[in-house]
């Protein structure tokens, strides 16, 4: 079953990749969707099996074949379906199915339709390998695979040079992180002699305190990998550029699934991180810095997808804060809810872009509320969920992160609260500017704007419902002991002591007084209310429109230019490398290596010209050569 679940999308990829060209668009699209949906159904059934039956072991394990076997080095091509993988799998295949469905309508005019679905299916396959692999090498396999698919899909409209560059940027940024991950894997193998999760964690657990320096190094290296994939400072700049890809791709890969691979990696390696407070501090502070910085940049972006992209970076930062505080459940919780509402927001923005005939600048929009009622409604729900409107999914998950941050360090709490507050500002700004006010586009008339077809609004509605009720996965304790902490129990479930749970070290229960808890809630809600009222006043009542690029000044200009990080990277890394490349290319390569290599060519050309004179077809010459050859042979024998 497990194998089928993983290989269904691969099958879809192969079918679409080979035959897709000859299939009608509808068939190729539904084929891709069905493959992912099949995986989802199997995943759901497996999940029921795993959690419903107490006699089940801690994981469903399938070994397909021996991946590598060299000397003592042994890696199996094996999958495991445990509780953490199950949650990730459900997100990937569930949201994947919705987004595939959405794409059928969104991409229907595209020439590369079948290619798009082939790539999407390949992505799902790789993502499943990533989360279901039973060892670090399998994870790396999937990790690289999703990187490749991300590259392919960002550069899907490869005829646009900028999009191609964005794809390359994403790939290269990810490579930097991958190097860290790879070195982390080497260190794991060097220290523990195996890649299998279970074996590694048992050894880590047994060895506990003695090798903490090594564990810290492993944890930091793995985190570098997570930085690349999950877009954290300093490797985050690729994610906003990745918005060059089609919007469903942004929703699936760059919001809901792939970028959370870093979170998954850290949660999976909990046993290692638990032993290294230093690494956790690093994770937390980087997450915090990323969160605030991305949120600030988001305030001044005018591309609807760019705002969402920075929002994603910011939310990922929040998750890393939770991880740094040791609140793994909270992080995973936020992964789930974020997947719901961010996919919803991206798909909603896709619907807007679709309705606006591929216009992405929010300054060109306005007043879409009446033309696109379903999109408006679902987008509103998404916005409310992400900004923490009480009792929507985002409210619970964000609150849990804030609370664990408060328990860890009040300063971190304060800063995270600021970040969460800014979320409200930029989200409502975008929301109001897009859907309220007056229509400002001059190219397409207001009457040309249209609501998207059912195939696109249906996923929106499903995701909206999930965004509302998603919090039920892990309700806080104050709502009642019996219904709360579902996810927490799932991750900490140890089968009555029969096996090791996902989280080997029990999470610190957040010990807060009732007053403190209420106080925190009030603070969070009041931040939300302030953001809502301020932006509503500015963009709806006063009808303000964000300035044009030239009118930016002061701090706003810095933010609009994303703190000039891209420019700084260009100066610090890209230009020197290009200059060095020029030198090497023009002098070392062109003059030195090329001359040397060309010398071989012209030299052998010259020699063969000489030799071809010998081969003149004249028997007498041949005879002479033969005799000389015989004489030489004899002479060699002689001396």
């Amino acid at each position: 079953m497990l194998t089928l679940m993983i290989f269904l999308p691969l099958l879809g990829f192969v079918l679409n990749g080979t035959l897709g060209k000859f299939l009608p668009k509808a068939i190729s699209g539904w084929l891709g969707t069905a493959a992912v949906f099949g995986s989802f159904v199997i995943a759901l059934m497996s999940f029921m099996d795993l959690t419903g039956d107490t006699t089940m072991p801690e994981r469903i394990y399938t070994k397909l074949f021996t991946f590598l076997h060299v000397g003592n080095f042994h890696v199996d091509f094996a999958f495991q379906f445990d509780r953490l993988s199950a949650v990730m799998t459900l997100i990937i295949t569930g949201i994947g199915t919705l987004i595939h469905m959405y794409s059928i309508a969104y991409m229907h005019e595209d020439d590369g339709f079948y290619k798009f679905f082939a790539y999407l299916n390949l992505f799902i396959f790789n993502m499943l390998v990533l989360v279901l692999g039973s060892n670090y090498l399998m994870l790396f396999f999937g990790w690289e695979g999703v990187g490749l698919c991300s590259y392919l899909l960002i550069g899907f409209w490869y005829k646009n040079v900028d999009f191609g560059k964005a794809a390359r940027k994403a790939f290269i940024m990810n490579r930097i992180g991958d190097l860290g991950l790879l070195m982390g894997l080497f260190l794991i193998y060097d220290t523990y002699g195996t890649f299998e999760y279970q074996d590694v964690f048992k050894l880590v657990f047994a060895g506990s305190a003695e090798s903490n320096a090594v564990n810290t190094a492993i944890a930091l290296l793995l985190f570098i990998g997570a930085m690349g994939k999950s877009a954290q400072i300093p490797l985050y700049t690729w994610l906003p550029d990745a918005m060059a890809g089609p919007t469903p791709v942004s929703a699936l890969i760059h919001a809901a699934t792939m970028v959370t691979a870093g979170i998954y990696l850290v949660i999976r390696s909990e046993a290692i991180y638990a032993l290294s407070p230093i690494a956790r501090e690093v994770v937390m502070w980087i997450g915090l810095a990323t969160s605030i910085m991305a949120a600030l940049i988001g305030l001044k972006q005018n591309d609807i997808k760019k705002v969402l992209a920075y929002s994603t970076v910011s939310q990922l930062g929040l998750m890393f804060i939770a991880l740094g505080c040791g609140a793994y459940t909270a992080a995973l919780f936020h992964v789930i809810t974020h997947a719901f509402f961010k996919a919803l927001l991206f798909l909603g923005s896709g619907s807007v872009i679709h309705g606006m005939h591929h216009e992405q600048d929010i300054r060109q929009m306005g007043g879409l509320r009446k033309k696109m009622p379903i999109t408006y409604l679902t987008f509103l729900i998404g916005t409310l969920a992400i900004t923490g409107f009480p009792f929507l999914s985002g409210f619970f998950s964000k609150d849990e992160i804030l609370m664990s941050a408060f328990a860890h360090n009040p300063l971190v709490f304060g800063l995270a609260l600021v970040s969460a507050g800014i979320t409200g500002f930029y989200m409502f700004r975008m929301f109001f500017v897009t859907f309220h006010g007056t229509y400002r586009n001059t190219h397409h008339g207001y009457d040309k704007v249209h609501e998207s077809p059912l195939l696109m609004t249906l996923p929106l509605l499903v995701l909206a419902v999930l965004s509302v009720i998603g919090g039920a996965v892990n309700l806080p304790q104050y709502l009642g002991e019996s219904i709360s902490g579902g996810l927490h129990h799932l991750l900490s479930y140890d089968g009555g002591g029969q096996f090791s749970p996902i989280l080997m070290y029990p999470e610190h229960a957040i010990e807060l007084s009732h007053t403190a808890e209420i106080g925190l809630l009030v603070m969070a809600v009041s931040v939300f209310v302030i953001a809502f009222l301020y932006t509503r006043n500015k963009y709806v009542t006063q009808g303000a429109v964000p300035e044009s690029d030239e009118a930016q000044a002061g701090m706003g200009k810095v933010l609009a230019n994303k703190f000039y990080v891209d420019e700084a990277y260009d100066t610090a890394f890209v230009s020197p490398i290009e200059a060095a490349g020029d030198v090497v290319g023009n002098y070392v390569d062109d003059k030195g290596v090329k001359g040397f290599v060309d010398g071989f060519g012209s030299g052998s050309n010259f020699i063969s010209r000489l030799l071809s004179k010998i081969q003149n077809g004249n028997i007498e010459y041949y005879l002479v050569y033969m005799v000389i050859g015989v004489a030489l042979l004899l002479a060699f024998n002689l001396f």
Binding site: N616, G617, N618, I619, E620, L623, V624, V627
Partner: protein
């Protein structure tokens, strides 16, 4: 039976030198002459040099195998001469010449 007792007066090395000289004369002819018939004759000369050597070794060692080999060489030489001359006649028919340097027309 022999006319004179050659084995006690002549070393085998003399026969070796003699046949080597004959062989090299034949070789020189092959290299020097252009007439294909003379070429074939020079090859016969070289073969005979080898035959002489075989016979000398055979006689000095008292083993008749060498002389049997001479028979086989003769057979091959005869066959070669027959086929070679047939080819020559054919070439002459086509080109009115037996000059081997003309055969460079055969190159591809």
């Amino acid at each position: 039976m022999s006319i004179l007792n050659i084995f006690s007066q002549v070393e085998i090395s003399h026969y070796i030198y003699l046949s080597t000289v004959l062989f090299c004369i034949g070789l020189f002819g092959v290299l020097f002459r252009r007439n294909a018939i003379i070429l074939l004759m020079c090859i016969e000369l070289m073969l005979n040099a080898v035959n002489l050597l075989f016979t000398a070794f055979s006689s000095y060692m008292g083993d008749s195998d060498g002389q049997i080999f001479v028979f086989f060489i003769m057979v091959v030489a005869a066959a070669e001469a027959a086929v070679g001359l047939a080819i020559l006649v054919l070439v002459y028919r086509n080109t009115r010449s037996t000059d081997v340097s003309f055969l460079d027309q055969l190159k591809g």
